[in-house]
């Protein structure tokens, strides 16, 4: 009995926390269709404010409690004014941009305050005794407080003049402006309100959890699921979604490991999306959010990911010219020029290039942004490494491992893709689901140490062997020239194959789908099937790159992580979306930069990446290749003018 009641209370208090954090996210999303990936960091900043006021010796918790929403709201206001307001019409870019902001905030806290865990004292101690068992009073207070806040927010949106204006703006922005509502002011207020609510949630939770720079991330993936399950843009939906997720997680945790519980909840969420894309509690939601779900809103953001001619030549016919020969020769002669340490480094980076290439296939061409591409890379790595660890003594184990390294990612991609694309879940919504997927599978990998080695990584498994099992085998290990050539050859092969595929009508079809999905359907295309095909291909390639990484890299939970996914996005963005060569180049450039920067810069590395994201979305959407192209174009024009003059 006691066990049941405790579980229910645990569920309720987890639900309360999730609801409190999700509220702000949901109202911002409901108004503008913008997912604020820095929302978890607003939560974190709220908690830090409480810790900070306490360390200043101010009257403990309550000052911080009042201060936290104000401080965070101000930060939110600054970010909205300086950055996000320029991106409202480009939801996918907002995702990247706010992810950049999130990294920057996290890194600033890490650098300025330190990565250590901090603690705030609980304002209410003591236990409530009832039915012969005890429960912490403060947790009960959180539940009650959440109920009050939710009620106030609902009243604000349904009973006040401000709420009416927000509703009008959601329904029809143009009309709202025509009757004199300052919609830009509304955007601002709602964003600030959302940020403030996150800050409040942070303040409330601060005393019961370890305050650290990453605390926002821990909650964020689940917060997404709350908003998705609850139905987008519905405040009551958030309450429903939060309760459902909180309760089921607490319920499962009572019998299973917390991590397993999280995975089950994630699987449930994906199932919900498959069955009811509008969420359990949503009917047809606000227009902006609906567009985001169907992916139509993305069509406005064309300009940036639009069209990319080749690097040096305008005419496709000469495309297989100089740059490839140059690159191939470099690849071929490198082993003679550099040390074996350097060779390993390059081999590793080439596997990253392959990952970037696979991401570019879906992001650059079809406009499908995945925040979980590292998961597919990781599955490839673990598929091979674990096979070698357990069955390494069996001849031919490498081939089983390779089959798994391709099979596992493809299978997962098939499930996710089927659940999403055939339900018309695209664009921002898809990216968010992959974000949650990445976050949760990452924490599973970290916690499941016995199997995965967690953050310490896998050690002491035999090297993969190729050749004829039992008769003639070649070991693939670090520091060997043959390993390098193998990786380079696979990369070149995959490049040629994907390049041909993208040059075939299939590539055009992907770009056309990215342009206008509905129109493609009217021409008789099965758009979800096309998306599924390219997604599975992309994830299979990610798996191959992960497998090739095994002999040259270090297999640990890090390669499953969202930060690694983020890096892959950076590589592609640097190189230029929509050019396969750009993606390959981008991965090499960024990784060498990272290696050859001084130690000081390494300390600031993620801060730089975060700022880079912000920079990319605002001013530099088409990467290195884009710059080359613009230069080439200008040169071309000048030559043409001169020619015409003469």
């Amino acid at each position: 009995m006691e066990f049941v009641i405790t579980t229910i209370f645990n569920g309720a208090s987890l639900a309360a926390v999730l609801i409190l954090i999700s509220l702000g996210l949901a109202i911002i999303f409901g108004l503008r269709g913008v997912i604020n990936l820095a929302h978890g960091e607003f939560f974190m900043l709220g908690a830090y404010t409480v810790w900070w006021t306490e360390s200043l010796g101010l009257p403990a918790f309550w000052t911080g409690f009042v201060l936290a929403p104000i401080v965070v709201a101000c930060i939110g206001w600054l970010i909205e004014r300086s950055f996000i307001r320029f991106l409202y019409d480009r939801p996918l870019e907002t995702l990247l941009g706010t992810w950049g902001v999130s990294i920057v905030l996290r890194e600033l806290i890490r650098i300025l305050i330190g990565p250590e865990h901090r603690y705030a004292t609980q304002p209410i101690t003591g236990q409530l005794a009832m039915f012969g068992f005890e429960y912490p009073l403060y947790r009960l207070a959180i539940i009650a407080f959440t109920a009050v806040v939710v009620t106030l927010v609902i009243l604000l949106f349904t009973r006040t003049d401000f709420g009416l204006r927000v509703q009008a703006t959601i329904r029809d922005r143009g009309m709202a402006e025509a009757i004199g509502i300052n919609t830009s002011r509304i955007d601002q207020s709602v964003f600030v309100l959302g940020a403030g609510l996150a800050g409040l949630a942070g303040a409330v939770m601060g005393p019961v959890i370890a305050i650290n720079p990453n605390m926002g991330l821990d909650y964020f993936a689940r917060t997404f699921l709350v908003v998705i399950i609850g139905g987008i843009g519905k405040i009551l939906g958030v309450v429903g979604g939060g309760s459902l997720i909180g309760m089921s997680e607490a319920g499962f945790s009572a019998f299973l490991k917390p991590v397993v519980a999280q995975v089950i909840v994630l699987a449930m969420a994906i199932l919900v999306i498959r069955l009811r894309p509008q969420g359990l509690f949503g009917k047809t939601s606000g227009s902006a959010a609906k567009e985001v779900v169907s992916g139509t809103a993305i069509t406005q953001s064309k300009g940036s990911s639009a069209r990319f001619p080749s690097l040096f030549f305008k005419n496709e016919k000469y495309d297989l010219g100089a740059k490839y020969v140059f690159f191939l020769v470099l690849l071929a002669i490198f082993p003679g020029l550099i040390s074996s340490y350097q060779l390993d480094l390059l081999s590793k980076f080439l596997t990253f290039s392959m990952l970037a290439l696979s991401l570019d296939l879906i992001w650059g061409y079809a406009g499908i942004l995945s925040f979980a591409h590292s998961v597919f890379f990781g599955l490839g790595s673990y598929g091979l490494a674990l096979t070698l660890k357990y069955w390494g003594h069996i001849p031919g184990a490498t081939y089983i491992g390779l089959a798994l390294a391709v099979g596992l990612p493809s299978f997962l991609a098939l499930i996710i893709g089927y659940a999403m694309f055939f339900r018309r879940v695209g664009g921002v919504y898809f990216a968010i689901v992959t974000f949650a997927l990445g976050g949760i599978l990452h924490s599973v990998t970290i916690v499941w140490i016995r199997f995965t080695g967690g953050l310490n990584g896998l050690y002491g498994f035999p090297n993969p062997r190729l050749g004829i099992p039992g008769l003639w085998e070649v070991e693939i290990s670090t520091g060997m020239v043959s390993t390098y050539y193998l990786i380079a050859a696979v990369l070149v092969l995959i490049y040629i194959l994907t390049h041909r595929l993208m040059r075939s009508p299939f590539g055009q079809i992907l770009r056309a789908i990215n342009d206008n999905e509905e129109r493609m359907e009217s021409f008789g295309y099965n758009v979800p099937a096309v998306k599924l095909v390219i997604f599975v291909i992309s994830c299979a390639i990610a798996g191959i790159s992960g497998a090739l990484y095994v002999p040259v890299g270090f297999v640990s939970a890090d390669i499953m992580g969202i930060l690694f996914s983020t890096s892959a996005i950076v590589w592609v963005a640097v190189g230029g979306r929509g050019t396969l060569f750009g993606a390959v180049l981008g991965a090499l450039v960024v990784n060498y930069l990272q290696v050859y920067m001084s130690d000081v810069l390494v300390f600031y590395w993620y801060l730089i990446i975060g700022l880079f994201f912000v920079f990319v979305v605002l001013v530099w959407p088409d990467g290195i290749i884009g710059i080359f192209n613009r230069l080439a174009q200008r040169l071309n024009n000048r030559l043409k003018v001169r020619y015409e003059l003469s």
Partner: protein, 245 residues
């Protein structure tokens, strides 16, 4: 046999009768213009033919076959090609690529992933010539002028090899020079394929100079050669003040 027969079709939206007991026959290789004031039911008629709507009464026969119960996609496969009012081109693809994508809608996955064959190339070249965009084939579609986008849209419908063309206001927003070119283009195309053209621009209708149908409040007000229609007093009244006719 007529290419298209609309027999006693009625369509209601709640209390509003959008199409009332409408009859329309399109012969092979006929080019028919439909005019009528706003709300006359022109676009509803297209929606009925294409399968976006089903008639409440009456039937629509395409090459002698009833279309009832067939989806938009099925009718498109049967050969009914429709050009919408607003251009739905793919802005980031080149003109040629736009046409190729439109042509491959019903192709197998093998065909899609292998290099383009001669047949496709020829078909695209053929259409490029018809829509007079041959010298702009490698230009990105979003950089075309408004008129050129409309032509490209017509071309995209053409590449899917329709046996009946439905054109909804092909000259909307065009300059008068462009309108003139469009009317010539459509006449050339319709030497092979029958077409129904909804048009507001009476100058354009006059240029085409074939049989026209005047719709009003969901039924046929008048039908016949342009010169007869122009003299018709009731039509003049329907177009009150529009002395262009």
């Amino acid at each position: 046999m007529n290419c298209l027969e609309v027999n006693n079709v009625t369509k209601r939206f709640g209390g509003l009768i959008a199409i009332q007991d409408l009859n329309l026959q399109i012969e092979e290789k006929e080019l028919r213009c439909i005019i009528g004031p706003n709300g006359a039911g022109k676009t509803t008629l297209f929606n009925l033919i294409c399968g976006n709507l089903e008639p409440d009464e009456g039937q629509i026969l395409f090459k002698g076959e009833s279309l009832r119960g067939r989806s938009v996609a099925e009718r498109s496969c049967l050969g009914i090609g429709r050009k919408f009012q607003s251009p739905g081109i793919f802005g980031s693809l080149s003109v040629r690529e736009n046409l190729e994508v439109a042509a491959l809608g019903k192709a197998s996955i093998r065909k899609i992933t292998s290099p383009r064959d001669e047949k496709l190339k020829n078909r695209v070249e053929d259409v490029l010539a018809k829509i007079e965009l041959m010298d702009k084939r490698d230009i990105v579609a979003q950089e075309l002028s408004h008129g050129e986008k409309q032509w490209l849209e017509i071309g995209m419908v053409l590449t899917s090899n329709p046996s009946l063309l439905l054109l909804d206001e092909p000259t909307a927003g065009m300059t008068s020079a462009e309108t003139h070119r469009t009317s010539e283009m459509i006449q050339r195309i319709c030497e092979e394929i029958p077409a129904i053209v909804i048009e507001h621009d009476l100058k354009f209708v006059r240029e085409i100079g074939r049989n026209i149908t005047v719709l009003q409040r969901g039924s046929v007000l008048a039908e016949g050669p342009i010169d007869e229609i122009a003299k018709d007093e009731t039509v003049r009244q329907a177009y009150l003040g529009r002395a262009v006719l």
